[in-house]
Symmetry: C2
Subunit: 111 residues, 2 copies
């Protein structure tokens, strides 16, 4: 595949932030937990309890995921509920698909 080097530089910067945010076991477990059927919405303190993290630690992980546009935060009264940022996640997935498309098309060239 022929990839414009400016384009790959831009997309690499975006993917770096995404992969950094995803490259942590606690954040991955949090994402799987949040994708569970049983959980409708989840607050910071519930996440902290569930993940066996202190409240600030949970808050900091959530900030990373929010900054990387993986999660969205909605304030309701005294609580802040975190949900997936669907719109952004679809874009993230497309970038990852493109990366693997580039890589795997190269692989099949070599067969």
């Amino acid at each position: 595949m022929r990839i414009n080097s400016e384009y790959s530089s831009d997309i690499s910067q975006e993917l770096e932030e995404l992969f950094k945010a995803l490259g942590n076991i606690n954040r991955l477990l949090l994402i799987y937990s949040l994708s569970s059927d049983e959980i409708e919405k989840i607050s910071v303190s519930e996440i902290a309890q569930m993940m066996d993290l202190t409240q600030p630690a949970a808050s900091q992980h959530l900030k990373v995921l929010k900054t990387a546009k993986i999660l969205d935060a909605k304030k309701k009264g005294n609580h802040i509920y975190y949900t997936f940022n669907q719109r952004a996640l679809i874009k993230h997935k497309k970038k990852i698909d493109f990366l693997f498309e580039c890589v795997l098309s190269k692989c099949s060239d070599l067969e």
Copy 2:
């Protein structure tokens, strides 16, 4: 989606290593470069020159990518040539697809 918590713990550990390996701008640029049509095979010193890295820095990045089963190394004479680990990459992609499937199925539940 209902995900077994042991399973999500296992897959999270695998994905953590993968995402950590991918969560670095130099390694991402290296991956894009390596997926270029023009490059058939590439040695450590060529990568170092191309990426404007010292030889040890390039070697260390390549080690991370090899350990994470993103790249494969083949020794030919005095050189070591790095290529994509196609077989493993296909598995990696499936794990990522599953993660996003979990996440995005949750998203559409909430619509």
